[in-house]
Symmetry: C2
Subunit: 500 residues, 2 copies
Amino acid sequence: MNESWTEFRRRIAEIEALTGAAGILEWDQQTYMPPGGAAHRGQQLATLSGLSHARLVDLELGRIIEAVREVGEAEGDPVKIAAARMMGRRHERARRVPERLVREQAEAASEGFQAWMKAREEGAFAPFLPALERLVRVTREIVACHAAAEEAEHPYDHLLEEFDPGSTTAELAPMFDRLAGELGALIEAIEGREGPAPLDVKVPRDRLAALNDRVARALGFRMEDGRIDEAQHPFTVGVGPHDVRLTTHLYEEDLLGTLGGTIHETGHGLYEQGIPDELAGTGLGAAAGLGLHESQSRFWENAIGRSLPFMRWLAPVIEEVTGQRIAPEALYGAANRVRPTLIRVMADEVTYNLHIIVRFKLETALVAGEIEAADLPGAWDELYERIVRVRPGDPVEGVLQDVHWSSGMFGYFPSYTIGNLYAAGFRKAMEADLPDLWEQVEAGRFEAILGWLRERVHRRGHMVDAPEIFRDAAGDRDPVADLVDTLWERQGRLYGVERG
Amino acid sequence: MNESWTEFRRRIAEIEALTGAAGILEWDQQTYMPPGGAAHRGQQLATLSGLSHARLVDLELGRIIEAVREVGEAEGDPVKIAAARMMGRRHERARRVPERLVREQAEAASEGFQAWMKAREEGAFAPFLPALERLVRVTREIVACHAAAEEAEHPYDHLLEEFDPGSTTAELAPMFDRLAGELGALIEAIEGREGPAPLDVKVPRDRLAALNDRVARALGFRMEDGRIDEAQHPFTVGVGPHDVRLTTHLYEEDLLGTLGGTIHETGHGLYEQGIPDELAGTGLGAAAGLGLHESQSRFWENAIGRSLPFMRWLAPVIEEVTGQRIAPEALYGAANRVRPTLIRVMADEVTYNLHIIVRFKLETALVAGEIEAADLPGAWDELYERIVRVRPGDPVEGVLQDVHWSSGMFGYFPSYTIGNLYAAGFRKAMEADLPDLWEQVEAGRFEAILGWLRERVHRRGHMVDAPEIFRDAAGDRDPVADLVDTLWERQGRLYGVERG
């Protein structure tokens, strides 16, 4: 009986070791690898990903998963049952897409990235179009493979399943529409008002690094099980709870942007460090989807990291580390300025979600065949004007701004806003559970907050999907209302407007 | 005809990608990995090494190698012939050792390392003995596997083959004996004489790092294809000519030790960066043995890096980078002090080889069954007294000082002295080829030197074994005489003695 479980764990541990090794190579690629290393790195990563894919689609693994399912049900063992369900789903999904299509996807992604770079250099969409058309066609073919095996209300659901298992287009679309309307009302209310001033300080790089280290540790990030390095585009890699690598970018002219980025990545890192050891080798020792992962980074970055109590704790820390004396209210105001702009990654907390909603509308329409790749520039500009209230001057600031589509990553963008919604729900639920929450933040005591997240989110790994984890943690809260409430409360007050 | 070659290259490239990935993980483990990462790293490395071993022993690879050999001979293609010979040898050697023994070796090594650490802590040999006995037994069993398939004059040759293919015990033993005698005479001559003074300077870590960078670049190390980081025990990892990682240790109180270590690793790194791109995926794109690898590090460290012309170039560089003004003669004297001591890794250029000769005598006797593990402490102390002219006070300074045996690494030590011998031969051959060699060194022009090594050593990869590369580069020089000559010339003069 236990043989299948032992063999299952051996095989999953091997897959996890391969993806863990690839994770370190990817981290290295963006932190320390010398430029010439790219020549070798591509082959190394392709080899590792080919080997783990081959192990995942192995028919024998399918039989072992089935045996684990039977044993788990006979024993009533929740870990075995969940492991069989989770790995069974990954195994089946991987098997549905033929080798030929996996290869074409990889080729199209590589071609797409080159074409996207070229298009950005030339400031024109046309050089990207043929590659994007191919990527859209391949994506639709992959969706068709899943659709042939499994029903879904919307073809886009088959892509969501990859990044946010358990989320559906039918649930997200009306939430996103409501959110767009509500955020539009807030933006309209504060439009033309002066609001808080930006900061005007310069902090040397070594002081920024010291501050990042200090803040990440204070929030509970274990440096014996992780580290912080610099990267051009910050990201976090966790190859297991005891090796979690945060990266950050040091902007000497942007203290709050630097710190906000670090707090964001620390949120991701705390999630990775909170995955229970005993789930290693089961396939369940991982985040329950990218949206939930993003909820952890956004919770710390926005709910905690942009709050006035946090700034009251932070201001003396900044002074101690950098010698700069900045009033907490000045930090708080500067961190919460709102202004519709064109670039998603530079957006403030309020307008950020509007950028995501535009991409969600375009992606769902593309996958459903309602629009084609050639329609994207026009549709993009029109939606930006209507939803974000700004119109791109050129495609580099518009349809070409993000890298995702150039590698065929459709279905990923919603996770950013799913994360913001979950984070808002967690915040309200936590406020109910921890009545002195904000006193603790002001005192720089973050253990109870982290403890709440550990207990309600992290320790569950991927035993169940994110929507279930959210419901168990936050009850039947309405996260759209929660998010809009907190933004009105914070930004409305800073801009001197009240909700109508 | 070409199908077998294409398939051969695909398979070898996969093995190289796996070992390259493992190389980066090992580098990371000793530079940036957080302590907790060890929990995951063991499994990652074991998985990668298991996968590359399985690929190497695959019977189908054996058939493909045979087909490549036939095609190569029919076409008269030297690369195919060499590739088939080299990979055929590795494939056969790997196949001879049964899976059971490979696993037992890994277990014994892991147990051995723990026991060695414990023994060092307790300052006693006894806690290490049972594990060492097992390691010796396993090593003898592995040797027996090879002996059953292939004749050799001495059983130790089967171990040499792993690290220094082409070297034999019958050739090394008399060379090492001659060398021990000659070095003994030099040491005897300078015994009791005062000799040059050590340096007494302190350099801050960031200045040491800047100096390392400056010197490595000056020697020709390409930073776009490599980097330098800090590690407890310096080493170099090359995962291909475009990604070579040097490591070094910054000793604030030991300027010359720090620089010497960096020049040593730079020598290794220059070799790795000099392997031709076109040998990738053939199994020939690698160093032709550890002794030849060591010859490159020792050549730069000793022949160049301890020379007076080098110090004349280095002194103003040190002054520029650190602000310390030290006369070239003072640097030269301090870098060439001779004093018999107990610890190999701290030894000077003259006595260093005596440490290796002791280990070589013990290892060959162990493998031949002439002594047993329990005899090692006594035999060690006796040989140290006779050959190195010092007697260890306790086993930590004696038989327990090196890590190698604790992981069953028998056959590795000779490569250090093989490297010194080759380096001395290369130096003399180069002096004949480049009449203004030392003027170039004094002027900080190292291109012609590196060019000589590139042409005679690096560009050959592992097309042939090291002894053939040495003969082609240095003719029929006697490297023992070359090494002893240069030491008498340098240290004899510094200590004011003449060769009898």
